[in-house]
Each structure stands twice: as C-alpha cells, then as structure tokens.
C-alpha cells in the first residue's frame, strides 16, 4: 500500500471501551486521525463474549461476535474499508478466533446461518485488526508527525494474553513479541526488557480472588521496576485496571495506554 493512500477502517469499540476506558478511546482516535487513518464506528454491535468458549460444540457463544462481523460485512460492501479495527484486545481475540473457527469448519457456519435466520449469511473475510497492528504497519506516518522526544521515559511493554494467544491469532511471536518495542524504538523511545511481558495479570479473578491479581501484578511490576522502567504501557482495559491495583498515582512507575504514550510523542498532551 502506498504511504499517501487513504486508510479506512471500521471500528468496533466493545462494551468496556465505551465505559471504563474512555481516555484510551479518546487518545487512540486522536492518534489515528493525526496519522490520516479514518475510522467509522459500527452502527450496531454486539457483545463479543470477552473470552471465547474453548469447547468445540459451543456454537451459541459465537452468535454475538458473528452478528458484529455481519454488521461489518454490510458496511464493507458499501464502502472501501481495510478491515474491522478494535482497541480492546479481548474483542480482537474473540472476533479473530470466530473467523478462524468458521473458516476451518464450514458446518459451524452453516448451523449459525440457519440459526440466525433474520440475518444475512456471514461470508467470512472480514479482516479483524488490532490498533497495534495498524500503528506498527504505519510507522512512517507516525514518524512524520512525531515532533516530541520522550527522553525521560523508560518504557516496559506489557502485552498480556489476548493479543498473543492462541498462537494462531497472535499479532507477533507469542514467545517473544517485539512489535510494540520495535515501534517505540523507531520513535526513539527507550525500552526496558523484562521477562513478564506476556504473563497473565489475573484477568477476571479481580472479581472473585483479588489477591491473585495483586500477586500476579506485583510480580510483573516489580520486575519492570528492577530493570529501570518508569512507564509500563498496556493495550487492554482489564490489564490496566488490574495493574492499577498495585501501580498507584505518584509511584515511580506509571501505567499508560500505548495510545496515550504515542499522543505525547505527537505533541498533544
């Protein structure tokens, strides 16, 4: 794709972005707009389910996500969109896995189509992308608008689980992801390497076993601190919430969404 060509994506916000991560949305949309990447929010969308069912016979759990993919399909037919973009990695994970399951198992698609008689058939092929992929794929555009230098930042990147596992839908090498580090390095941001960047934060145990989350996050955070980080950057609203159980205002380490960090670089604080 030519650098100057227009880039247009459909946008699936998901429940959490619209309630618990409004600042993540605001900074992400601002950043993409400055990069000349256009977004169109889906007119209607449905709960993806956050974590996909791992059973092979749980077709019902694909319904919500498939409805969203069908909404995207309708809009893609009318407009020239490069895919369906998500900010929330859990949404990315679920939609991508539904695509994968339905591609590999036409019988499941058949059952779903039959069941959703009021909807058109899902023809597969809606390209689901996460904002990190779009940012990494358009580093040139970012470089163009990055006017500031963030010399005081030493960034530990925290990926979490859902962008990298299962490996079939990973945005990078799940054992040693570097996509965000490479992005930041090319923008001259100092990176801190540490061993826990793909370690689970404890996820939904925040509701029932908060101590598990606190233990997990302490391990992640203290490792990043020991290696000299003063920023830990995340892309998931649940990771962010869980990290903030330990990382508090005024600490040596600050938790920051990747979009927020990049917005600093383009001089829009």
């Amino acid at each position: 794709m030519n650098y100057l060509s227009s880039l247009k994506y459909l946008y699936y916000p998901g429940c959490t972005i619209k309630r618990d991560a409004l600042e993540y949305e605001e900074k992400s949309l601002l950043l993409l707009r400055k990069m000349g990447i256009e977004l169109k929010e889906l007119e209607s969308w449905y709960c993806c389910g956050a974590l996909p069912s791992l059973a092979i016979d749980d077709i019902m759990s694909y319904v919500g996500g498939t409805r969203t993919l069908i909404e995207a399909q309708k809009l893609i037919r009318r407009g020239d969109f490069n895919g369906l973009l998500t900010l929330c990695p859990m949404c990315y994970n679920v939609l991508k896995r539904i695509n994968l399951v339905l591609e590999n198992d036409p019988d499941k698609l058949e059952i779903l189509t039959e069941y959703m008689e009021e909807e058109e058939r899902y023809g597969l092929g809606v390209n689901v992308v996460h904002i990190v992929e779009v940012l990494a794929g358009n580093i040139d555009r970012l470089k163009e608008i990055a006017t500031e230098k963030l010399t005081e930042f030493k960034v530990a990147v925290y990926y979490g689980c859902t962008l990298l596992r299962p490996k079939e839908i990973a945005i990078d090498d799940p054992e040693n992801p570097e996509i965000i580090e490479n992005l930041l390095t090319s923008l001259e941001v100092a990176i801190v390497d540490y061993p826990f960047k793909t370690e689970c934060c404890g996820s939904y145990h925040i509701l029932t076993n908060r101590n598990i989350v606190v233990d997990r996050v302490k391990r992640i955070v203290s490792s990043a601190l020991r290696r000299g980080a003063n920023i830990i950057t995340v892309v998931c609203p649940l990771c962010m919430y869980n990290l903030k159980q330990v990382v508090k205002e005024g600490n040596k380490l600050r938790a920051m969404y990747l979009s927020e960090l990049l917005v600093h670089l383009v001089g829009d604080r």
Partner: protein, 122 residues
C-alpha cells in the same frame, strides 16, 4: 472408558491420552500456585478416570490464558480440557459464582464481568 472422560473428550475435541506428563503446562500456568491439583496432574487423573476427578477445584482457577494450550508439545491443550471439565457442571445449569454477591461488580471493567460469567455460570 468412563462416561466423564468420554464427555470431556467430546466437548474439548482433544485427546488427553497423548499426554506424556512433561509438566510444561504446570510450569507456565500463571495460577498454578492457587490450584489444588496442578494441570499436568489433572490430565493424568483424566487418563485414569477415577472418582477423585469430581473433587478437583483447579478448573475454576484457570482463566483461559492459553499459555499451556499454546505450549503443549503433545497438543493435548490442558486449558481446553479444563473448559470441557467446567462445562460438565455449567451445562447442568449450576452456577459456580453467584453474580449477585460480587462486591465490586459495578466498578471493574465490563469485560471482567462478562468473562467471569461466561466461564463460571451455566
């Protein structure tokens, strides 16, 4: 084969008998220290199909992070067997967590509540 084992296999689509007990799943599990039975041992118990299977609580600590599934050298995918195991209970309409009693349900990100509900209520 015991009915419970047959069911776990048919829901998960995975073959627990391929496991050769390397223990990698337990090594990479982020919540293994809270479990009563580590993942590799759960797989062994499934192979044996004994009564103690019904008493395992580990499956409710697993958060489907997929760390063990991706790394399993025998493609057994303990996390996927765990899901099938959970569904044996949930598909009878039994809830493992009462959503109505969660203190911070209105404060945590919505995805946490959705994920918990999908994995622990039937």
């Amino acid at each position: 084969m015991k009915e419970i084992v047959r069911k776990i296999i048919s829901i998960s689509g995975r073959n627990p008998f391929l496991c050769y007990q390397c223990g990698l799943c337990s090594a990479v599990c982020p919540v293994v220290e809270y479990m009563d039975t580590p993942p590799h041992k759960v797989v062994k118990l499934i192979q044996l199909g004994g009564e103690e299977l019904k008493r395992i609580k580990s499956i409710w600590y697993c958060i489907s992070c997929m760390a063990c599934v991706d790394r399993c050298p025998r493609n057994v995918g303990p996390g996927i067997l765990f899901e099938a195991f959970r569904l044996l209970t949930l598909r009878r309409g039994i809830d493992k967590v009462d959503l109505g009693t969660l203190e911070n349900i209105d404060k945590v990100p919505t995805i946490a509540v959705v994920a918990l509900a999908r994995k622990t209520t039937g």
